[in-house]
């Protein structure tokens, strides 16, 4: 069961998880024995420690969604996970605001955790998103790599 959504506006991860739980309970009759979640938020400062006013997330409409769906299906299949939730911001995201939520439901803790971790890395490296840091002086810079693990 894959639930994937790009969010053009701020979203609340716990609210998203609550909706996902309702969906899971309706589809599976019961929540999975093991759930692993990850929430990523915008840091207050950028690549060179300068304060950020916002992070901008550009994507490739159509391809990004399809790519996330295929990465999610592959990760779920590989680890035997029952359910995958991905919510990912696009557009201007403020410091402290959530960028990404990944949640995995599985029957055991190992697969849930490994699937969550691997899908997050896959999203970072193989889903077409681009980040731009905006600074207080109006300048901006595209990020050409991921933050350190």
């Amino acid at each position: 069961m894959l639930a994937i959504q790009l969010e053009a506006e701020p979203f609340e991860p716990l609210q998203a998880l609550a909706e996902w739980h309702q969906l899971l309970a309706a589809e599976l009759g019961m929540l999975p024995a093991a759930e692993s979640h990850f929430v990523g938020r915008v840091r207050p400062s950028g690549a060179n420690d300068s304060p950020l006013t916002a992070l901008e997330l550009e994507h490739y409409p159509g391809m990004t969604e399809a790519c996330i769906a295929s990465l999610a299906a592959a990760a779920a299949g590989q680890h035997g996970a029952t359910a995958v939730l991905v919510r990912h911001r696009i557009g201007l995201v403020l410091p402290g605001d959530p960028i990404v939520l990944v949640a995995i439901g599985a029957d055991r803790r190992g697969p849930a955790q490994r699937c969550c971790q691997e899908l997050l890395e896959a999203l970072k490296h193989d889903a077409p998103f681009w980040k731009r840091e905006w600074h207080a002086d109006g300048s901006s810079a595209w990020i050409t790599g991921n933050t350190a693990l």
């Binding site: 889903a127 681009w130 980040k131 050409t144």
Partner: protein, 88 residues
Amino acid sequence: MAVSADPPSQVQVHLFAGLREAMGWSEQLVELAPAADATPHQLWRQLGLQPAHPPAGVRVAINQQFATWDASLAAGDELAFLPPISGG
């Protein structure tokens, strides 16, 4: 002539993020040179994208699927040049 009635061989090209900004455009309909064996690599040069040799981190998508630089392009394809990805 019959040949001139053929639809033009066009490819829709998309640029993103830093590449889009550096080039000053985000999409273009590009005519494929007749009888040329069009590839993303060849189109990168034809469009004068910079630097002349595509940097290692830049990837290519054809019809919204990752593809190789020497894949064959067909009329109607959607081609995208993707600067280094940083999601999540």
